[in-house]
C-alpha cells in the first residue's frame, strides 16, 4: 500500500458524523470522496475498483447509524469501512466490480452474481476477518480467513469460480 494514500485515508476517521444525504451529509460525503479520489490517484487503480470505492463511502454514510435496516442492524464502523477499502485494493485487477452492501452485523459484503446458483459472497468484519460462501450449481462452500495485505487464495479462487 502506498503510504501517502494510507495517511490520507487515516483522516477519514476524523470526519464529523452526519445524517446521510442531508446538507451536512453532503459535505461529509464530498470530503470522503476527496480522500478516496486522492487514494485512487495515488495507486492508479482500475475503473472497476473506483466504482467500488465510491460505493464504500456511500455504504458508510447509509449505515453508520444503528437500525439502518429497520431490524436493529449494527452500524458499519469506520474501521470496517477502511478494511473494506483495503480489501478492494487487494483484489486482482481483472476481477469485475462486486455488488457492495452492508450486513445486519455491521460487516460489509461483496457479492459476485452470475445467475441463479452461481453466486459468491465475502464479508469483511472486525479484526479483518473474511467470511465467505459460494454456490455453484449443486456445489456449496464456505470458510473464513484473515485479510492483512493479501487476500487468501481460497477467496480468490471462490470469486474466479463464479465469474469465469
Amino acid at each position: 500500500m502506498n503510504l501517502v494514500a494510507a495517511n490520507n485515508f487515516t483522516s477519514f476517521t476524523s470526519l464529523p458524523s452526519s445524517g446521510a444525504k442531508s446538507s451536512e451529509g453532503n459535505i461529509v460525503y464530498e470530503r470522503i470522496m476527496d480522500y478516496v479520489e486522492k487514494y485512487n490517484q495515488s495507486i492508479a487503480i482500475s475503473g472497476n475498483k473506483r466504482v467500488t470505492n465510491d460505493e464504500l463511502c456511500d455504504v458508510y454514510l447509509e449505515c453508520k447509524n444503528p437500525n439502518w435496516d429497520g431490524y436493529n442492524a449494527i452500524p458499519v464502523s469506520i474501521e470496517i469501512c477502511k478494511a473494506a477499502l483495503k480489501f478492494t485494493q487487494a483484489l486482482p485487477i481483472d476481477i469485475p466490480a462486486p455488488e457492495v452492501s452492508a450486513e445486519a452485523d455491521g460487516e460489509i459484503s461483496f457479492e459476485w452474481y452470475q445467475g441463479t446458483k452461481k453466486i459468491f459472497s465475502v464479508s469483511i468484519g472486525a479484526n479483518n476477518r473474511l467470511s465467505f460462501a459460494g454456490i455453484d450449481g449443486d456445489e456449496e462452500w464456505y470458510g473464513v480467513s484473515t485479510f492483512i495485505d493479501q487476500i487468501s487464495p481460497k477467496v480468490i479462487s471462490g470469486i474466479f469460480s463464479i465469474i469465469i
Binding site: V59, E62, C63, N67, W68, D69, G70, Y71, N72, A73, I74, E99, V100, S101, A102, E103, A104, D105, G106, E107, S109, E111, Y113, T116, K117, I119, S121, S123, G125, R129, S131, F132, A133, G134, I135, E140, W141, Y142, G143, V144
Partner: protein
C-alpha cells in the same frame, strides 16, 4: 390448533409465504431483479431474522404490514418473498411471534460456532436469497 390475534394459526405451514421488507436499497439489485444475500443475514443480537406472514392477503395489505419498518427511514424498496418450506430446507425454522400482527422469526441459525459461524450464515443467506422472489415497491 392455537390461533393468534391475527387469526392465523400459530404454526407456520410449510406452504406459507413469508416476506422480508427491504428499506435498504443495497439489499436488492433492481437491474437483475434479485435480492442479495445480505438481506438474509440474521440480527447478531438474537440470531433471528424478522419476517412477516403474508398468506391470504392482497398486495395492498401485504405492503401495509411494512409500516413499522418503513417508519424507520421513510423508505421502502421492496420485499423478498419466500415459502416457509424453503427456509426449513436449510434446517432453519419459521415461528410466529405476534405482536406485531403476522410477525414471525426465522430461527435456528448456527450459534456458538466461533469464527466459522458467520460463514455458515452467509451460505444459508445465499441460498435463501437465491430462492426468494423480489417484489419491488413502486409507490414509495
Amino acid at each position: 390448533m392455537k390461533k393468534l390475534p391475527s387469526s392465523l394459526l400459530e404454526k407456520v405451514d410449510d406452504s406459507e409465504k413469508i416476506t422480508r421488507f427491504i428499506i435498504y436499497s443495497r439489499f436488492i439489485n433492481k437491474d437483475r431483479n434479485r435480492v442479495k444475500s445480505s438481506a438474509f443475514i440474521p440480527n447478531p443480537s438474537n440470531l433471528q431474522l424478522s419476517v412477516s406472514r403474508i398468506c391470504d392477503l392482497s398486495d395492498e395489505n401485504i405492503w401495509a404490514l411494512s409500516k413499522p419498518v418503513y417508519e424507520i427511514r421513510k423508505k421502502l424498496y421492496g420485499r423478498a418473498d419466500i415459502e416457509a418450506h424453503l427456509i426449513r430446507n436449510e434446517k432453519l425454522n419459521v415461528v410466529s411471534s405476534e405482536p406485531p400482527e403476522r410477525h414471525a422469526n426465522v430461527v435456528g441459525w448456527h450459534n456458538n460456532d466461533g469464527k466459522i459461524q458467520k460463514a455458515r450464515h452467509k451460505k444459508i443467506a445465499l441460498k435463501l436469497a437465491d430462492d426468494a422472489k423480489l417484489v419491488l415497491c413502486s409507490s414509495k
